[in-house]
């Protein structure tokens, strides 16, 4: 329970801290949450399900506030609780860090995200899913660029539209199975008539496709990422997007299982279109933040396509790749923000030659670039390689289009790096990295290399709960010919 209550309490507390100490408080508090999470990890056996709130069955309207975690949920909770300190650390010397509302909203966001991953009840999942929208919206609005109202309105309405489609799907399921508890929903999902199940999965899909975002639903994303403050972009891309990918694994596929075959190739196609489309657009971008936003579309398209294969390997690898994507997006958006805040421009052609002025930054930006293009011994290499393999087994063309990400990724990332960092210096001075920024980059790199060398840690950890989910759907793991 403290996983959920603690961020909320800390969020409220941040209003009583004197403004001078807020940034220390924020960082310290997020580390406390991380410590508590690690404490849970030490007592946790990957095969268990730990109940936080047991379902209360006699509530009116079929509500049952069931909360708990299995290993899949726990990995993502751990991800959230480790990325939030990183975001606050990266943000440490910015003006934003001294803002009480900002710190409170980040913790509020953390509460919502944790809730999404802990929810074992359809209604609760939806509630937390929506709750996360409020703090991110306020962070983007209060601390983002001026006059981004149109962008924000688009973001809000888009995500709300998707969420309401999901709400409808959950209501349909819940009314049919007379309970919103995950197991009973999943059991209904395994036996539902294919047509109903197809509509249900479409409802979930709309919500997730908008949040991920998949190809035709992505139009809110680049502008929102670009106009938001660094921390907001990181929260959006490193954490919020993972809710949708997690939702696909845990909610969409098992709950609409009998109908999933009919939308499987649709999602894979959209994901792969996203891979190519995002990459091609990223190659032509001159605004470095927009470039990274499109790169993100490209990366997550691959993950979404991989999840839809839904073989055990694909799902496990998708989780590795989700973690990798968090690492990459925190790193890249930090780099983009360092460039922007020190040069007041995001235009690649006005930058250049920064390696000479700031060798440290050059080095760390290079490492995160390499992590992003998935060189061997980083998590991305393992993740992308296996996802592409799984897609190849499903269909050669799917595998082929997915594999283009390796080439395109190198093109746009190296282009961005080259234009901004190499060549003749166009600036006279560039302040090198501060300790906190180096620390963030170092942690990210260490995690990426660790996961690249020992991905089995995570895979073994999530295996039991993925097996459990697949057992619920009695899916026989046959590889689709």
């Amino acid at each position: 329970m403290e996983l959920l209550i603690l961020p909320l309490v800390l969020a409220l507390l941040s209003y009583v801290i004197p403004s001078k100490g807020v940034k220390y408080y924020g960082l310290g508090a997020s580390l406390v949450i991380l410590a508590v999470t690690i404490g849970h990890l030490l007592h946790f056996n990957a095969e268990n399900y730990v109940a936080i709130i047991n379902p209360i069955n006699d509530l009116p309207f079929g509500l049952s506030f069931k909360l708990g975690y299995d290993s899949l949920s726990f990995v993502l909770v751990l991800l959230v609780n480790s990325v939030v300190p990183l975001i606050l650390l990266a943000n440490f010397y910015k003006e934003l860090a001294t803002n009480k509302s900002f710190t409170a909203l980040v913790f509020f966001m953390q509460m919502g995200l944790t809730g999404v991953f802990l929810a074992q009840d359809g209604m609760l999942f939806y509630i937390f899913w929506e709750v996360t929208l409020i703090p991110i919206f306020l962070i983007l609005y209060w601390f983002g660029e001026q006059n981004n109202n149109r962008v924000l309105l688009k973001f809000f309405i888009y995500t709300l539209l998707g969420s309401l489609a999901m709400l409808l799907a959950i209501i349909v399921l819940g009314v049919a199975s007379h309970s919103f508890e995950y197991e009973s929903l999943a059991i209904y999902g395994a036996i539902a008539p294919a047509k109903t199940a197809c509509w249900i999965s479409c409802g979930f899909l709309l919500a997730f496709a908008i949040k991920i975002p998949l190809f035709p639903f992505h139009t809110w994303q680049p502008a929102t990422y670009t106009s938001s403050p660094m921390a907001g972009t990181m929260l959006l891309s490193a954490l919020m997007l993972k809710m949708a990918l997690y939702g696909m694994i845990k909610w969409m596929i098992p709950l609409g299982f009998t109908g999933i075959e009919s939308i499987k190739w649709l999602v894979i196609t959209l994901g792969l279109i996203g891979v190519v489309y995002g990459a091609v657009i990223a190659i032509k971008q001159n605004d470095i933040k927009t470039l990274f936003a499109y790169a993100s579309i490209s990366h997550v398209g691959l993950i979404a396509a991989g999840i839809m294969i839904y073989s055990t390997t694909a799902v496990e690898v998708a989780i590795i790749q989700m973690i990798n994507h968090s690492i990459v997006s925190v790193g890249l958006f930090l780099a983009a923000d360092i460039l922007e805040s020190r040069t007041n421009t995001r235009d690649l052609y006005s930058l250049g030659g920064i390696t000479k002025l700031a060798p440290n930054f050059g080095f760390w930006f290079a490492t995160i670039t390499f992590v992003s293009i998935s060189v061997p011994f980083t998590a991305g290499f393992f993740g992308e390689f296996l996802l592409i393999k799984e897609l190849f087994e499903a269909h050669w063309f799917a595998g082929f289009s997915a594999a283009t990400t390796l080439v395109f990724g190198a093109v746009y990332m190296l282009r961005a790096f080259q234009l901004s960092m190499f060549g003749a210096p166009k600036l006279t001075a560039f302040e090198d990295l501060k300790w906190n920024e180096i620390l963030v980059f170092a942690i990210l790199l260490a995690t990426a290399i660790f996961l690249g060398l020992f991905p089995q840690f995570v895979i073994d950890f999530v295996k039991p709960s993925i097996a459990k989910i697949q057992e619920l759907t009695s899916y026989d793991l046959k590889i689709i010919k």
């Binding site: 509530l59 309207f61 709300l160």
Partner: protein, 445 residues
């Protein structure tokens, strides 16, 4: 019944004390009286589920909930309006007296168990409001509103009476419980009767197609009176509609359900779509009220009235909160949305309350508005899935509307002069915000 008498006596005392132009005393007396009524009501509700009926007035568990809500709302309205009433010292007595008399009407309407009391309730509820709407005599909008409301309102009342006469002609009784037994849906006379009654009640709650009065009237009235119309009158009207068309005339459901469809869908869409282009805050609230009436009418499809009550709780608390903020901003002397620009920075507390209220109206969890809409939809889905699809669609339009307003209210480029809040407003706003935030927990009991 005792609560009703207490409120009536309070209204009389308030009227005379108000005439002596002692605002503080008037406020204290009316707050005291309404709190006493609230306590008496709760006392009965707790120990006595079937009230002793007194000539056609009685509160069962369901109506008791509505009566409590109405008294609580009226209490908050009298407190929130005080700052304004005090300035209009000549009309002090009118405000307090008429608001409380109108509350008496609401209670009679909610508790009525025959058509005689029902009609009395409607009249006692409406007539003071006609006067209150036009109380700003120098203001041309106010006079327009009053004339409009009075003429259309009395016309609606006439139609109601006409309908009651038809029903009486067909069945020969006024009493609800015997009506329920002998009502014959095949009699054309009875059908015409209930159609008339239905139309009149739709007018009272401001649902499509009888909604045209509400934006003009809301715009012209003082904020407290607008709040009274948007909350107390609406709650009482909804309770009456549910009593009549959910229980008494349930035999005629084959005829009225298509009409519910039209009224509900019409209210939902027309309300939000018309609200999109409004530049005046009170007109916006009026149109959003029309849509929310549509939401409330969903309950007629499912027959689960607890969800209606929770919905009304969330909706009225949010509306009252917003109209109280409008009173805090009254120094601008107009309710154009422009004036709301940047109030989140001029006074963060107002900003937070505004945020909570609008998010609740938009149906974003964890506000009461969300849970209320949720249980309404869950209940409706089984029998009328199409209604659920359409309602969710309108929710998107509504959310767009409300979020756009939030963006205005927190706009940065404003001369950040602070706004001071009157302590009484502070109390009302806090209560509203807490209700909106935590009211949904009442579902669990």
């Amino acid at each position: 019944m005792d609560a009703l008498i207490v409120i009536f006596i309070t209204a009389l005392i308030g009227l005379f004390v108000g005439m002596m132009k002692k605002p503080n005393l008037t406020l204290s007396i009316s707050v005291l009286g309404q709190s006493a009524a609230l306590v008496i009501m709760s006392y009965y509700g707790k120990y006595d589920s079937t009230f002793n009926e007194f000539e056609g007035i009685g509160f069962d568990a369901f109506h008791w909930l509505f009566a409590e809500l109405v008294i609580g709302l009226s209490l908050l309205i009298t407190i929130s309006g005080f700052h304004y009433f005090k300035k209009e010292i000549d009309h002090l007595a009118d405000y307090y007296g008429l608001l409380l008399f109108s509350l008496c009407g609401a209670l009679v309407l909610i508790g009525s168990s025959n058509f005689f009391m029902f009609f009395l309730g409607v009249e006692i509820l409406s007539i003071p409001v006609y006067v209150l709407v036009g109380i700003k005599k120098q203001n041309i909008l106010s006079s327009e509103a009053s004339i409009k409301y009075f003429f259309t309102g009395s016309f609606a009342t006439a139609i109601l009476l006409f309908g009651i006469a038809f029903v009486y002609g067909a069945t020969g009784t006024f009493d609800f419980s015997s009506l329920q037994l002998i009502f014959d849906a095949s009699s054309p006379m009875a059908i015409i009767g209930i159609l008339f009654i239905f139309a009149a009640l739709l007018f009272k709650i401001g649902a499509v197609p009888f909604h045209f009065w509400s934006p003009d009237v809301y715009e012209g009235s003082p904020d407290a009176v607008t709040a009274h119309m948007g909350t107390v009158v609406k709650v009482a009207g909804m309770a009456a509609i549910v009593t009549l068309f959910g229980h008494i005339f349930s035999a005629a459901s084959g005829i009225v359900v298509p009409l519910f469809y039209v009224a509900t869908i019409g209210s939902l869409f027309l309300g939000y779509l018309s609200a999109l282009k409004q530049t005046n805050f009170r007109r916006l609230i009026a149109y959003s009220g029309i849509s929310n009436t549509g939401f409330a009418m969903l309950t007629l499809f499912s027959g689960n009235y607890v969800s209606l009550w929770v919905f009304l709780l969330g909706y009225t608390a949010a509306t009252l909160g917003l109209l109280t903020i409008s009173q805090v901003l009254a120094k601008f002397n107009s309710s154009e949305i422009e004036n709301w620009k940047g109030i989140g920075y001029k006074n963060p507390f107002l900003g937070i309350v505004l945020l909570i209220c609008f998010l609740s109206l938009a149906g974003i969890p964890p506000m009461t508005g969300f849970f209320a809409k949720l249980i309404l939809l869950i209940n409706t889905y089984e029998q009328h899935p199409v209604m659920v699809y359409l309602t969710l669609l309108t929710s998107v339009i509504g959310a767009f509307l409300y979020v756009r307003f939030i963006l205005i209210a927190f706009a940065k480029d404003s001369n950040a002069e602070k706004i001071a809040i009157h302590p009484l407003h502070l109390v009302v706003l806090s209560i509203c915000a807490l209700t909106v935030l935590f009211g949904w927990t009442l579902i669990l009991f």
